[in-house]
């Protein structure tokens, strides 16, 4: 129920945006994420973007996990 999936924002028009998820395009509401910009990824939940995904943080997390994995050898 609290499922949210990453979607790429392609264009913005007022409170709505065109977003792409898994190759499919759909209209979503961005009323909960007014800060979103074209090219951002958002977490999409029941038709609404509930947060903008922080790409830097995602990279940081993966970098950390990769470093720790290589130490493990």
């Amino acid at each position: 129920m609290c499922l949210a999936i990453p979607a790429l924002v392609k264009s913005i028009e007022g409170n709505e945006a065109e977003a792409e998820l898994g190759g499919v395009s759909r209209r979503i509401s961005i009323v909960l994420t007014p800060e979103v910009r074209v090219g951002d990824y958002v977490l999409l939940h029941t038709g609404y973007a509930i947060n903008v995904i922080d790409e830097e943080e995602a990279e940081e997390t993966l970098k950390l996990l990769t470093e720790m994995a290589s130490l493990e050898g």
Binding site: M1, C2, L3, A4, I5, P6, L8, L21, G22, S29, V31, L32, T33, P34, Y41, L43, H45, T46, G47, Y48, I50, N51, I53, D54, E55, E57, A58, E60, T61, L62, L65, T66, M68, A69, E72
Partner: protein, 361 residues
Amino acid sequence: MKFVDEFRDVELARAVVSRIHRKSSRHIRLMEFCGGHTVTIMKHGIRQLLPPTVEMLSGPGCPVCVTANQDLDRAIALAREPGVIIATFGDMLKVPGSHSSLQRVRADGADIRIVYSTLDALHIARQNRDKSVVFIGIGFETTAPTIAASILEAEEEGITNYHVLSLHKLCPPVIKALLDSGEVRLDGLICPGHVSAIIGSRPWEFVARDYGIGCVVSGFEPLDVLQSVEMLVDQLERGEPRVEIAYRRGVRPEGNLRAQELMNAIFEPSAANWRGMGVVPGSGLKLNKRYQRFDAQLAFEIDPGPTVEPKGCICGDILRGVKTPLDCKLFRGACTPEHPVGPCMVSSEGSCAGYYHYGTV
């Protein structure tokens, strides 16, 4: 898919698992609050990957499952009202209430539409001005802002035939109730990622501070969950329970302030009735005075009749983490996804459905 596939990386996951094995020396019990996490754990066999020192319990984080029969009966009674169109998430349809289900009253002619979003429900209201559209508002803090947004939109557009049956529930208060009951002993909590995307990580501080239980906010891919388990093992091995965010790409400590603002504009806290836990003060949301005209509870006089609990179903105990589906005599026999006795077998994130589909080990 970006931000999904990377967090399913098998090599990285393997490395996390072996670190957990190496670091975990004392026995700990962790609860994953969220049904979405339960699904990830079951689907990827995460329980079996963990060392015997790390015990995992499922929590009450399945909105369909925790909806009390009495509230379900209200939704069913509303569906029987003449001139009413029910808009609901699909999961609710098959859940058996005291005497019927939404699916059964639909077969008897009630107008019930499955929607993916409140945006769809509003659209139905626009197109059926002579009818009343009632949205069955289940869900946690993740979903509540989307309901708030729909009510604000209805107001702005002058849509007067849109109502919400607000059965929304709040996660931190129910965790508090669960811990205060003393029924379950926990060392760590895997906090719900998308609830926390809205409320932030701060509302979990009391769990670490007052109960000495570690909290890690987790994402929903297998690597996310494993990373969160590792962070909890680290905390507990050091004896320093605190609140951390593993799901940093989706959650900030302060949460989504805009979403909180919309929620606070429309709703006020109220008591909520949880399956298995009963009425928990301050754990629900009702429409505040200014938006009462959208409240289905006030707009219709309904009598749902006496509540009857499904006989033999131990869903409530499972939701409190004191039993597992294997303890239920009806599991796999009288109760299957095709013929569910209780909601934990209906919802895709219910524990019983998870055990049924992904094995029982």
